[in-house]
Amino acid sequence: MNKFSKLAQYGIFLAFALICLVLALSTPKFFTVSNLLIIGNQVSINALLAFGVTFVIITGGIDLSLGSMVAVTGVAAASFAHPDTYPLIVPLLVGLGAGSAMGAFNGLVITQSKVPPFIVTLGTMTIGRGLALILSKGRPVSNLSDEFNFIGGGNIAGIPFPIVILLIAFAVCSVVLNKTILGRYMYAVGGNEPAARASGIRVSRVKMWVYTICGLLSALGGILLTSRITTGQPNAGAGFELDAIAAAIIGGTSTSGGTGTMTGTLIGALLIGVISNSLDLLNVTSYYQQVVMGVIIIGAVVLDGVGKKD
């Protein structure tokens, strides 16, 4: 990342800081440790999905099946997480495996057919939802082991475990994107696919990776959600894809591919989380919550744009 694009991120960062300031002034409850931890906790799932979709969008693709992958992986993991059945590692591997497999399936269809990612992942979004319902027979999978429930509900030294996972995932994703060859190739593929190919990059392989990683992160989100609500819900995650994509784009990832950062996406996710937390704190009537939410999101990105102008 060079100086110019770092500067470009200040825009949304400033917008975010401004909103936090306004909130801190309007309700003293906002800037308490316990509330900040709650926000972190609430943001974690969306942030994980947003990290995944950031990779995808950087390569010029899109993934609408995130929410369904959350449901399938959650149900699949829950089915193996009843107390006194399997050790904890089994549901985790099942969930992460299911997510990676679905992601890889997306990647395979996208690279092998000429079907646009929008349609492929819209298709797998529907398929995934059906699978989750079939797997669970339409009923929540409950009665999960305590260890499993710790993932989403436990603390480490007072820090909720989801926040710990979020921070680790953020670090890993940032490294993958900025410090590995795969990450470099993602930018190249999204920036100019024919040129990337002509530079010797195996474009299909990069795309396979990207959708698989996205599936893996969705699975992590699915496991976290399932553990947090101590049930595998077949209808969980509906609409999560839009929130995740929104976080990425608010954070400066361009839908035309080739640009984006994990820090931006994290700020995007935090922005959405902070707004929805504080609208509750301020007890804004739910109808108006939606209006305010929409206005603030557009407003923040407008502010971002103003910051970027030369």
Binding site: N2, F4, K179, I181, R184, Y187, A188, P194, S199, G200
Partner: protein, 500 residues
């Protein structure tokens, strides 16, 4: 005084603090062809975009027949009688040739008013386009989709579009960079006709011979500054180059050494349906093989096939006697082939990536450190390449999109070199590159050959082919018509085989 149609005073423009134009003056007479010269990045295109209203200057004045144009948008300036052939091809790929030519002027063509003024009249558009192309002597179907044209054909459509506007001033920003001699001839005839009708033309090109063929007056810019204006008759090539680069270049083409090593690449009976057939040649270590031919002869297609960008149907390609198997760019690179495409923007670089990231893109395996990227080695390799190739950039982190054309080309060459190729295919390597940089690139090509690489150079500029090649393969309509040695090759002979 009144015979000036366009007067420009004190134009300045900066991009994020960097001055691209500094206090430029420019006067254009009615009915003259005025060449605008300068190295890559001198600010020529930026200046022209200001005239047409696509870029707003920071200060200054543009007077068209006394009327100030500053603040006008493109739509206004087009209507007021300035039109422009842009340096980068600006077409709508999904629309037809005729639709592209009259884009933005459908209302004039349809000749309808009132309620029906929003209605298209495509039959009239097609008719007028056909007449126009016919009059220009260009053989392109008005109803063909733009995306199915070759770059050269697209360029001819852009020329047609600019002259169909009945403008008083036509700006031509490197109109000949993608077309061959025949079309250049056509264009020059058009320019002479326009001149006779009193139309003024601003002409930008890096091809020196063209400048002296068409222009009456020459203005030179250097590093965004106005250097001077002279009548073409006052200047010769060397004097002009000196004005542009601030020094003289005596010998354009470096001496050949002519000691060849083993055969590196051999192509046998290569064919692809509808594109080319029965192509056989080889290149040895230390040799430069020139590929000559007219536009559409199939030279690029052969290069793309060798590099694995396109499939081929018959024949064989071998590197040091062992055939290519995977037929992908990755394999080609791994086996030591490098390719510098004629389509710099489309295939050459990733615009929104830095010079460093672009230049190391094909050789990332050299910068692996425990699974991560070794930024230090990347940085030092990039700095060395910038120094070796004399790339003009604000730094290794600069986005390639903001470099001038010649420097973008050098970045692409740098990328190819870093993958340590033994065979390099250069497709129109000096297209859009200024004289100074051209000279650098020629020296570079020769020194690569001297280091033992095998070079295939495709070029539409015959002097370049003649000056640099050790052998010349001539193609015509997808067939190979001659393989000439340096000694026997002349401009006339190549042309004879090229039209065979």
């Amino acid at each position: 005084m009144s015979d000036y149609i366009l007067r420009v005073k004190e134009i300045s423009k900066s991009f994020s603090g960097v001055k691209a134009l500094d206090n430029i003056h420019f006067d254009l007479k009615k009915g003259e062809v005025h060449a605008l010269m300068g190295e890559n990045g001198a600010g020529k295109s930026t200046f022209m975009k200001i005239l047409i209203g696509l870029v707003a200057p920071d200060s200054g004045e543009v007077l068209l027949e006394g009327e100030n144009l500053i603040g006008s948008n493109v739509n206004d300036t087009l209507k007021k009688g300035i039109s422009m052939i842009h340096q980068e091809i600006l077409i709508i790929p999904e629309l037809t040739v005729a639709q592209n030519i009259f884009l933005g002027r459908e209302r004039e063509v349809s000749g309808k008013n009132g309620l029906l003024s929003g209605w298209l009249n495509d039959s009239e558009i097609n008719r007028q386009a056909a007449a126009l192309l016919d009059k220009m002597g260009v053989n392109i179907a008005p109803k063909a989709k733009m995306k199915h044209l070759s770059v050269a054909q697209m360029q001819m459509v852009e020329i047609a579009k600019a002259i169909s506007n009945n403008a008083k001033v036509i700006i031509m920003d490197e109109p000949t960079s993608a077309i061959s001699d025949k079309e250049v001839g056509t264009l020059f005839q058009i320019i002479r006709d326009l001149k006779a009708q009193g139309v003024s033309i601003i002409y930008i090109s890096h091809k020196m011979d063209e400048i002296f063929q068409v222009s009456d007056t020459i203005t030179v810019l250097r590093d965004g500054k106005y250097i001077g204006t002279k009548s073409a008759a006052e200047l010769d090539q060397n004097a002009l180059i000196a004005m542009m680069v601030g020094r003289e270049i005596d010998q354009m083409f470096p001496e050949a050494t002519q000691v060849f090593g083993q055969e590196l690449l051999s192509v046998k009976n290569l064919g692809r349906a509808g594109k080319f057939s029965n192509i056989s040649f080889n290149v040895k270590s230390g040799e430069i093989l020139g590929l000559a031919g007219l536009m559409g002869a199939g030279r690029t297609e052969i290069a793309r096939a060798i590099f694995g960008l396109d499939p081929w149907d018959e024949g064989e390609i071998s590197i040091k006697q062992s055939p290519l198997r995977a037929r992908t760019p990755r394999e080609a690179i791994d086996r030591g082939i490098g390719y510098v495409s004629e389509d710099r923007k489309g295939l050459g670089f990733i615009p929104r990536m830095s010079v460093k990231d672009n230049i190391t893109l094909s050789s990332m395996n050299n910068h692996r450190k425990g699974g991560l990227i070794n930024t230090h080695s990347e940085q030092s390799v990039t700095e060395k390449m910038i120094a070796d190739l004399k790339i003009k950039t604000a730094g290794t982190g600069q986005h390639v999109t903001y470099l001038s054309g010649g420097n973008q080309q050098k970045v692409v060459i740098g990328k190819v070199l870093l993958a340590s190729p033994e065979i390099i295919i250069l497709d129109e390597p000096t297209r859009g590159v200024d004289v100074g940089a051209k000279f650098e690139i020629y020296k570079l090509i020769r020194s690569l050959a001297d280091q033992g690489m095998a070079i295939i150079m495709i070029s539409s500029e015959l002097p370049e082919i003649l000056g640099l090649s050790d052998r010349i393969l001539v193609l015509s309509k997808g067939k190979q018509t001659a393989l000439l040695s340096k000694a026997e090759a002349t401009q006339e002979l190549i042309m004879r085989y090229a039209v065979a």
